[in-house]
Symmetry: C2
Subunit: 239 residues, 2 copies
């Protein structure tokens, strides 16, 4: 019997709104389940039980079929997001299957668990969570993950809501100076459904974050990005 993957959403093509391949045309596969419960999680439906009935246990072949059904010939890149997809061992097979079909794979995880298949991911983002999330980083595990992936196309990303998050980001950047480092504006207006309003408010926060980084001498070799998809589509899901 083939192993199954708990899937909540498959959608696209759209563009990647965050991080190391921001703007990349991609499909999304969103898996269910997370070992964290960040205070500001924008995907809480993946782990808080509210979308339990929507979870489908799919085989890799079924996922590929659904991707092709929705995306046709209009994609060559898939982003696996969550939740925390690093909880799911059988993603290994999905990555292999996508590669066999000439499709690149990106994935984001907070760095709380290792999976051997991390090494196969084309664009891997490790996003440890800052203090505002109320989560605690296990530095021992994170050290090991970063060490094992030194030769891979990876990046670190920290979402910033306030000054203590920024201090945390400095710590992460100093701990792993050789890894491409991204700072991202946090979106705490998850209830705002007026997208113009949200966009302007996010741009103001982005400007604040840029100002902080510009005036720092420890955050030099960094990239600062907004959540591009939130600027365009606001808090809508499935785009």
């Amino acid at each position: 019997m083939n192993k199954r993957i708990p899937v909540l959403e498959i959608f696209g093509p759209t563009i990647q709104g965050e991080g190391m391949v921001v703007g990349r045309k991609t499909m999304f596969v969103r898996t269910a389940g997370c070992d964290y419960s960040c205070s500001w999680c924008d995907s809480a439906f993946t782990w808080d039980g509210s979308s339990k009935e929507d979870i489908q246990q799919l085989e890799c072949q079924e996922i590929l079929k659904e991707l092709k059904k929705i995306g046709g010939e209009n994609f060559d890149h898939v982003t696996i997001s969550g939740g925390n997809p690093a909880l799911i061992a059988s993603i290994d097979e999905l990555v292999d299957l996508l590669h066999q079909h000439g499709i690149e794979v990106a994935l984001e995880t907070q760095g709380s668990r290792w999976q051997d298949w991390f090494k196969k991911i084309d664009d891997l983002t490790i996003s440890p969570k800052p203090p505002s999330s109320q989560m605690k980083t296990n530095w021992h595990i994170l050290d090991e993950i970063v060490e094992r992936l030194k030769e891979n196309h990876i990046s670190l990303k920290v979402v910033i809501f306030n000054k203590s998050d920024l201090m945390y980001a400095e710590k992460v950047h100093q701990r792993y100076p050789g890894i491409p480092f991204f700072l991202q504006v946090g979106n705490d207006d998850l209830e705002e459904m007026e997208s113009d309003h949200l966009a302007l408010s996010l741009l103001k926060k982005y400007q604040w974050l840029i100002d902080q980084v510009v005036s720092s001498n420890t955050l030099n070799h960094v990239r600062v990005l907004p959540q591009v998809h939130a600027l365009v589509w606001g808090n809508k899901r499935g785009v």
Copy 2:
């Protein structure tokens, strides 16, 4: 006697708003002069004579000194922009000097002229101009430039204002399929000084561009970006 470089502006630190290292914390050095005269050029003051008196003929050491004076210890990356910096042979020395000081160098040029120092640029963007610019691409020169830079960290970027620009972009992407390819929204509201207004109008154009790319099967391995700095600062200069 040392060779001099015609410089119009030195500013930063700020973030790179476009292309392959979008979001990168950087200083800017803007050179004077261009062999093109794109209809929608947002830096026309570099070549139309309007800022002639502001051009300073600087030696590399003077440029570095000015960068350090403005940026202090808060940067490790410099973007050389124009105009077309590829017109200036003596940029060779500037790149070497910056590298000696541990500073990375990015540069953008339309691909109308070759310089041997292209090979030293850390992040080189070649941005051939689409039909809406009223300029004509010399494919022979572009072929040669791309061929010589195959082993370097380069990308192609095309700014899109309309459907024929998009067809031109498809042509460029098909001609150089192995080169990372960026599509960028054009800003034709250069007179709009109300930055919220401009941001929302650019986001609408960005959404149009995403829609075009999403529904294409020839533009798959691409990245689609807004002009992030125009979203944040509107049409202001020197930020």
